[in-house]
Symmetry: C2
Subunit: 212 residues, 2 copies
């Protein structure tokens, strides 16, 4: 293995460094976030740094870049309080990636890239109709990360839409079957294959393989 020091990394071009550091943190749970602008226009943007924060309450967070770099989704969420998160399938990774283009405020990325907004259960933000795993969020807290002006946007999951055949007897959702894609770096997309599930780990007990 080669040792890349911070000194070397800081000497790279901005683009090379961004590709390297963005890949280094691993494959990411990339998803499309749907919001509604105060004018009523829908907004759709791709986000890849998404974290599970807890199951009770059902908290999920995502990282939003500095406001000047990525203003629309965060502003809509702060105003409207409700948003959707939608997994991406392999057939439309190009459309999902295209939502990262800097369209003017008030322009619907749904229309621009050719994905379909789906309004249901009177929810105040659009789901992505093409998505096989969708969930609805209510804003809880916007946490500032002072060091580089990014934000951890924390929300409570209040509705989920999943094909029941993906959901196992113990609540596990088989996202391999759902074909939810992962992202890598700034612009790479991949698909996952199943390896194994294991029993809850205890110090003096061998693991059991559960199968996927």
């Amino acid at each position: 293995m080669k040792h890349y020091s911070l000194e070397e990394i800081q000497g790279w071009s901005r683009f090379y460094r961004a590709n390297f550091v963005n890949s280094l943190s691993g494959f990411k749970p990339v998803s499309l976030i749907g919001t509604t602008h105060k004018s009523g226009e829908f907004n759709l943007a791709i986000f890849s740094n998404i974290v599970h924060l807890g199951a009770d309450p059902t908290l999920i967070g995502f990282i939003n870049r500095p406001r000047e770099a990525a203003p629309h989704t965060l502003a809509n969420i702060e105003q409207n309080l409700f948003y959707t998160i939608n997994h991406i399938s392999p057939e439309y990774i190009d459309k999902a990636h295209q939502t990262s283009a800097k369209y003017p405020e008030g322009v619907s990325e749904f229309e621009m890239v050719g994905l379909t907004p789906e309004i249901k259960i009177d929810f105040k933000a659009p789901f992505v109709k093409e998505s096989m795993v969708q969930y609805a969020m209510e804003l809880v807290e916007v946490v500032s990360i002072k060091h580089n002006n990014t934000f951890l946007v924390v929300g409570k999951m209040i509705h989920a839409f999943v094909e029941p055949s993906y959901v196992g007897e113990d609540g596990f959702i088989d996202l391999v079957k759902a074909q939810s894609v992962v992202s890598l770096g700034l612009d790479g997309y991949g698909e996952a294959t199943a390896l194994q599930r294991f029993s809850y780990a205890k110090p003096d007990q061998p693991l059991t393989e559960l199968g996927f």
Copy 2:
């Protein structure tokens, strides 16, 4: 698709709900975090909620559960300030998962599960020798998420160890080639296959496929 409401989800058993909500956020960039206890003993623990925060400075964060649930890694980082993050390969996902068992403080999970601590470049925390992508971190900030007592631990990446054949001409690291695994839910592991890379998206320009 079935609609799962929050009311229904809250009525589930703790275990079923944890599996469901943990899977819902998508595949995760699971890694092993290596730290050193003040006694000098090494600690190793598996973490799956890892986020890229920025490439300049090179900030990467991870979510730590409440202190009472997951005390050792965070305490060691706060004391020592340095830690390592190591990708996991398919051959030892069982050993990686086993690090989640609640071993007593001061016990080395390296020894317990059979992974090899690697000390190099005088770094004050152990790398996982079996890992094909390793990076070294310096603590920047521990951000509290008040709503459920979890933490976003923000660090600066100061060294990386990667096989140069995985690193593309533009800095992109091919983690499919590196066979870095992803996790799903509390106990599932998968491997990724490459789909596509795309050019930087602009409003009035079609995407170019870059290949992986």
